[in-house]
């Protein structure tokens, strides 16, 4: 049976394949990922600049090409910064951008966004010049395809259809930003 996956199911698969890469989360993915992982290489981009997790991830990927970066972005966030797809294509780096598409602004209570039902993130990514683009709309197909999609050279865009949730609370990072930065930079072996 090919049921739509939950966000947690989607991210459990990401966890199996992240290896030693930096994982940048934002908005509704923050608490879900924080419950799955407590690596110093996790960077919860919250408080954030709206829609800018792909840019922040690209910066880390360009700075540390040996490391690799996975960005867990939302569909609402992606719509706020579609130009970042062009920027990713223009500066090839070891970055995998996941678009977790639940069709909602989940953290504000579950309102539909402007792209519901017609925004095709795979076509947008291809049109931006991203060559490695994957789409998965159920748990079985994501489980089968994740190893290939999350391996190989970046930039890659992975569009995941997931279940929307209502009644979510505003996400909070598991620790203050200053601690997050210190942990990340120590894990990247940078001077504080």
């Amino acid at each position: 049976m090919n049921l739509m996956m939950t966000q947690q199911q989607a991210l459990e698969i990401v966890k199996r394949h992240r290896n030693n890469r930096v994982v940048v989360t934002t908005m509704s993915a923050v608490p879900t990922w924080a419950a799955l992982s407590d690596s110093p290489l996790d960077f919860h981009f919250i408080p954030s600049a709206m829609g800018h997790a792909p840019d922040l991830g690209l910066g880390i990927a360009l700075a540390r090409p040996e490391r690799g970066v996975i960005v867990l972005n939302g569909d609402g966030c992606m719509l706020m910064n579609l130009g970042s797809l062009i920027t990713l294509a223009n500066h090839p780096a070891n970055i995998h951008l996941l678009i977790l598409d639940n069709g909602l602004y989940e953290v504000t209570g579950g309102q539909p966004h402007a792209g519901v039902g017609h925004a095709d993130f795979a076509e947008l990514a291809r049109g931006a010049g991203i060559r490695r683009v994957y789409s998965f709309d159920n748990h079985d197909s994501w489980q089968a395809g994740a190893a290939e999609a999350l391996a190989g050279p970046g930039p890659a865009v992975i569009w995941l259809k997931i279940e929307g949730r209502l009644g979510q609370q505003t996400p909070k990072p598991p620790r203050p930003m200053s601690e997050q930065i210190a942990r990340l930079q120590a894990a990247l072996e940078l001077p504080g």
Binding site: F43, P47, S48, A49, M50, G51, H52, A53, D55, L56, G57, L58, G59, I60, A61, L62, A63, R64, N81, G83, S84, I86, T87, N90, H91, M177, S178, I181, L184, Q185, L188, L190
Partner: protein
């Protein structure tokens, strides 16, 4: 007076790793010098808010980027600037072209850009200095080094 070759050389001397930019007509004339340089590397973005988040990621990864944009883009980029400088507390340095600066000072322009650029920077608590024609790339290097030494953000406004 600032020009492409002297700016590129000054940035290299300062150890700047990347220039992230959306050029205006003045900064755009520096493109040959900046794009021809191995260090700093020129990174083109689509909108100015991207520049601040990209710079933040580079700083987190240990690099030393600067941002070159026009004041119109500064206005657009407010949320990203606020986040990088005040939430992440990163010492982001920017060079901002101020359109119509001289014409406004002479009362010959209705362009609102020079009216709002400095108040906006003060509101965002970004220390800045205005560069006019007498300023050189050495002055730019000094402003950058001072901001880095004080581990704070900073801006150079280029009068246009």
């Amino acid at each position: 007076m600032l020009d492409g070759p002297s700016v590129a050389a000054a940035l290299e001397d300062c150890g700047v790793s990347h220039v992230i930019w959306v050029p205006d007509s003045v900064l755009g004339s520096w493109e040959p010098a900046l794009s021809g340089s191995q260090r700093p590397t020129l990174l083109r973005v689509c909108r100015e808010g991207e520049a601040f988040a990209l710079a933040a990621g580079l700083v987190l990864g240990g690099k030393k980027p600067v941002i070159f944009i026009q004041c119109t883009g500064l206005f657009e980029a407010g949320d990203a600037l606020r986040n990088a400088v005040h939430d992440l507390k990163l010492p982001i340095f920017m060079l901002v072209g101020v359109r119509s600066y001289y014409a406004h000072r002479q009362g010959k322009s209705n362009d609102s850009c020079p009216v709002f650029t400095e108040p906006i920077l003060r509101a965002w608590q970004i220390p800045y200095v205005v560069f006019e024609e007498r300023h050189t790339a050495a002055d730019l290097a000094a402003a950058y080094r001072q901001a880095q030494a004080e581990r704070r953000p900073g801006a150079v406004l280029v009068a246009e």
